[in-house]
């Protein structure tokens, strides 16, 4: 089972991305908690690509591919912009007490992604950034 979607780099499209992932996984009869976690992981990566890699340039676009097999879900998000964006390793374990004291808003997204998904990779392909996420599923 697989499906794909292309969106332009506007944060207004995050709702469309979430609806797409949600519908795909609910059709596969996955639990609401799992569905929400995967939706969140995808939302965080896509928001990073839209805001930080593409500066919300609606002329740029992302491709999102979902592939569901028996025991795992693979997600590929390809950024067609020209900036190579490799955010991993920045904030794996954010100090949230410090964030609260500093009144800091950002820096938690990739920590969420890495805690939800079993595999998170960012790599370069044909001068574009690709993010691959994998979640192992109970059968």
């Amino acid at each position: 089972m697989q499906d794909q979607i292309r969106i332009s780099c506007s944060r207004q499209n995050l709702q469309q991305v979430r609806d797409f992932v949600r519908s795909f996984l609910l059709a596969a009869h996955r639990s609401e908690l799992l569905v929400n976690q995967v939706v969140l992981a995808v939302d965080e990566v896509v928001a990073n690509f839209i805001i930080h890699a593409n500066g919300e340039d609606a002329n740029q676009f992302l491709d999102l591919l979902l592939v569901l097999a028996d025991h795992h879900l693979d997600i590929e998000i390809e950024d067609h912009g020209s900036t190579i964006f490799l955010p991993l390793g920045k904030v794996a374990n954010p100090d949230l007490r410090a964030y609260i004291q500093q009144g800091r808003k950002g820096g938690m997204g990739m920590a969420l992604v890495s805690r939800i998904m079993d595999q998170v990779e960012f790599f370069e392909r044909n001068s574009h950034t690709v993010c691959h996420l994998r979640k192992t599923l109970a059968s």
Binding site: Q15, L33, Q37, V39, P94, L96, G103, K105, G106, R115
Partner: protein, 109 residues
Amino acid sequence: MKVTAQPADTTLTLLLDGELDASSAVVLDTELNKPELLHYKRVLIDCQKLSYISSAGLGVFISHLQRLQDAKVKMVFFNMQEKVFNVFEILGLDSLMTIVTTEQEAQTA
């Protein structure tokens, strides 16, 4: 995302309705940034109709928490859906923020 403010004596309740993401977080940020918020003793966040939260939404709460604490204003979350609470849990924010089950508990937490 819709935020409805319900003031009552020393308590302000904010009812959140919808999905709180990088696109809609500004709506909540504007509400929490209002100076009059600091005149209340409690700011209660009713999450019954909050169906989704991303790090951008969490970040809005985190960014205002210290300011509220410094002004002796207690921020309490209640009526939170399991899937939303789970997002707080994943980061360990459930132990840094006050989250209770009912509005009655929120009034005394």
